[in-house]
Symmetry: C2
Subunit: 254 residues, 2 copies
């Protein structure tokens, strides 16, 4: 991928160097990973620091700055959804005491918007902002099952990455799973990511009734489903209500 010509493009390729695995970088690292000449990198970074989009820590390494965080929390996902959902997620966590997750769909991926874990949580596979394919996660199946038709088609025709022998691997299996998710109103992703856990997910609906997010709980294999499923579904409906969703027939359009 060649470096974009526009400054904004260059600035964003620079920012893209920062990931969950590499939350800080030196100037040269930024230059190398972005493919930009060193002097150009230097000039851009200096301006980004001036705008507090980047910050320089005590060791001279650069990190994402407070300004970007402030802007980021204004995004609808964080502002509305997360704020409304958090109390209910806490309730769900309180009851189950396992990883609780809230996620939205971004094209053909799941993006985790919030995650609650115990202090001594074992697996930290997901964190805020991390991404996963749709077909292998509980939240992903819920989100995909209620996604627009063209998205579903594209997802079905994309090679399905296998994480374990239990990961859904064929398009027909995926289609069938999606149908049952729509029918049942929840999804179960059984050992699709790790061989020792499964997750139970339920939809979160906006005021119009369309699915805008999904909640899930990841539990060890030996946990009985009926001990968590009702709680997850109730949590999904509670968040939906808090977002303005109403049960019953939709209000007729004028």
């Amino acid at each position: 991928m060649p470096v974009p010509r526009s400054i904004l493009g260059r600035a964003f390729t620079l920012l893209a160097v920062f990931t969950a695995d590499r939350p800080s970088a030196t100037l040269s690292e930024l230059s190398r990973h972005s493919g930009l000449p060193l002097s150009t990198t230097h000039r851009l970074v200096r301006e980004l620091v001036a705008w507090r989009a980047l910050e320089r820590d005590a060791d001279g390494r650069f990190t994402i700055g407070l300004r970007l965080w402030e802007l980021g929390v204004l995004s609808p996902g964080a502002l509305d959804l997360r704020d409304r959902a958090l109390p209910y997620l806490e309730d769900l966590f309180e009851v189950t005491h396992h990883n609780v997750q809230l996620a939205i769909r971004d094209d053909l991926e799941v993006v985790y918007v919030e995650r609650l874990a115990a202090k001594d949580a074992v697996s930290v596979l997901t964190r805020m902002g991390s991404r996963m394919p749709l077909h292998a996660t509980g939240v992903g199946l819920v989100l995909l099952a209620h996604a627009p038709h063209d998205v579903q088609e594209r997802a079905v025709h994309t090679p399905l990455k296998r994480f374990t022998p239990h990961t859904i691997g064929t398009s027909t299996a995926l289609r069938e799973t999606l149908a049952s998710v729509r029918r049942d109103g929840y999804a179960i992703s059984d050992r699709q990511i790790e061989p020792i856990t499964y997750s139970v997910a339920a939809p979160v609906r906006g005021p119009d009734g369309d699915v805008v997010a999904a909640v899930s709980v990841v539990v060890p294999l030996e946990t009985r489903t009926d001990t968590v499923l009702p709680a997850v579904r109730a949590c999904g409906r509670a968040i939906s209500r808090s977002l303005g969703w109403r049960t019953g027939p939709p209000t007729p359009k004028p």
Copy 2:
């Protein structure tokens, strides 16, 4: 304030139009509030949308995009601090059932990094990302009391905004309060923002022992202090420990 000449500067003045009060805007609004010509605004916005820094919602209004959120959560405040602190904040919330807040200092202001509130919380004075002056809040007093000397001096010599008759109004009063905060290891901000609440705050320390953040609980006036103070202080210490802080004499430098 004239519009900056550089593109990055213009892009950031554009992004600065988005605030907690105005989380979405139309193209013309962006042009008006940023002071940029419409055609320039249009060009910049188009590119920002292409990079997913902005998004266009169903009504054609622009909002902060998912990409900015993803970058923002990589900032040290969100990534390390918030992630580690959240479980303990939840515990504190569980015990007190009042607003729980985690904040850091940005120059002469407090920035709230996390806030937990009941579903039916009454006052939503603060949210994630909102700012307050240092002298009027519990967290602010804690953060200021342990800030570098020059920051304290500047804060003391800044006009102190009064919110209620109880707000600290003179520099001597502020100095005395800071001294007692350092001595006691916690701060109480009594009716300084609202006349019907007070807040109790405690420091959060990093591995080196320096104060990197502050926790607080906002409680109604009739609440007895000794029912929340120990919990808040314990919470602050618990988060500090989770960040790598150790009690006892600091490891001698080689």
